[in-house]
Amino acid sequence: MAVFSLNFIAFVGIAVLLYYLVPRKYQWMLLLLFSILFYYISGGLKAGIFIVITIANTFYGALTMQRITEKTRQTIKNSEHPLTRNEKKAIRAKARDKRHKIFLLSLLINLGMLIVLKYANFFTVNVDGLLSRLHVPVQIPVVSFILPLGISFYTFQTTGYLIDVYNEKYDADRNIFQFALFASWFPQIIQGPINRHDTLAPDLYAERSFNERNFRTGIYRMLWGYFKKMVIAERCAIIVQEIITQYDAKSYSGITVFLGVLFYGIQMYGDFAGGIDIVIGVSELFGVHLAENFRQPYMALDVSEFWTRWHMTLGNWMKDYVFYPLALSKPFAKMQKNLKKTLGPYVGKVIPTTLASFIVFVLVGIWHGASWRYVIFGIYHATLVSSHTLLERVYERMRAIFHINGKSAGWKAFSMFRTTFLVTIGRYFDCTPNTVVAVQMLKKTFSTFNPWVLTDGSVFKLGVSEREFSILMLAIILQIAVDVVNERGVRIRDVIADQQVVFRWIVVLAAIWAIMIFGVYGPGFDVGAFMYQQF
């Protein structure tokens, strides 16, 4: 069930109504019930066993670790004779060892399922391809699984919890049904954001009465999400579809191809950030606050900053659970020391960190899908981010030579355009069916110089009429304006929520009207589901 469908709105409506009608102690159970129902209606039951295994594995893994810690404390406290320091140390070491084993087993089960279900097909196809190229007359059978609904999101969310409990950041959950709700909360299961247990779980398990203001801001957030999805993303999709599927047949080249990919980026932003707006808005109707996932990504001054603004919960997850542990691990510390000795403090500092970040970005690429184009997508971004760090001093010197003030508005604007350009180049590997097409399209882009397509009316022949194109432009300008205001720290929905009732209703009705009138509900309505669902 797509979150922008009328069915979903009806589903949420019923859930909200019942949530505030049932006795408060049953509220979380109702949320769990609706989450299971949502998973069932969305077709998740076919591979539903996997989410059940993940939930049970994580829950019992974490709980067992917690019990070992508690038992150890008890043993030390209740010992009949006073324990020496060494005895205490030995007891603790034994417990740590046990916890470590349980942790590794649970982690392996969670990540193992994700890797096998998501990447087995990719792996077998490539190994077979390699074998046949080497003329080895052996082929391993190609395996393909149904990908469980939301697997990338719920695996990361539960695994983050497992790591946190292992690190004793907080206590393990005591109720498996409540934990199941945390793992499967219906608005976010399909496209995130990836939340943390210590912030999300208390909100989900709480008993609460109806809060009109939460409800109001939740609705505003949802409307903005529908606007981004239906008015901007769906309209961009027509242009993107035209250019990317017809670029060869209709000989699109130069700036036209670039425009196609640029619109793809805008489509992705409208689609994904719009979807997240709806998810966050729906959650707020129940008083549940989710982590933000976007922070005006196209206002980033460089590509590494872009990744702290785009899909933030994935970036933060990677930072906390992969980048930091890796960068601070023993082999990395050793590398750092060796490099410091041989090549000086700057190189010693920068190279290991850059390597850790490179690994993270390749993982982010692969996370997006089991395909070579995502591997290249990851390596491309890893290279940009790494080169930025490695060459920071060179850039600084160049700015000094050319007397460029790094803090001036002009330089900032230039930096934003540069970032958008670089991110768009990376998207060639995301929007095309395979790397061959991506490379061909890149060649087409840079082999022709045709800036006149922007002014000679060619843009109105890319699948949308002049009127439709103008609507899209106005909608994008509105989006940029909202982003600029948000960047200044103003929450527009709070401002609207503070106004008089008449004004508030005018805003709501105007928004609904704009979504209905200007939204694109073409034949692709059913299939144009939120793009991130496939992850």
């Binding site: 590494s304 702290t308 930072k319 980048f323 930091y324 601070l328 750092q336 500092k349 960190t353």
Partner: protein, 79 residues
């Protein structure tokens, strides 16, 4: 503690000469320090104070202010 602070400030200023560390209250929350800065600061303080900051110590509360960092170092030294 004062000694820790003066050594720490030297490390911080070397890493990010553009930041006025003593005047900042939310170095992480305001995104003044990024993850690369943190790693480089941590590797320096590990060497300088002969401690081992773990990945689990890398939370905003420990790095938002110079004083918080001093407390972290002090705690790890006494562990």
């Amino acid at each position: 503690m004062d000694e820790i602070k003066s050594v720490l400030l030297e490390i911080l200023e070397e890493t990010r000469p553009d930041v006025d560390f003593e005047g900042e209250e939310a170095l992480i929350d305001d995104k003044i320090l990024g993850s690369f800065d943190i790693i480089s600061i941590v590797s320096e303080i590990n060497d300088e104070f002969d401690i081992k900051v773990k990945a689990t110590d890398l939370v905003p509360e420990n790095f938002n202010t110079v004083d918080a960092m001093c407390e972290l170092i002090d705690r790890l030294q006494n562990e």
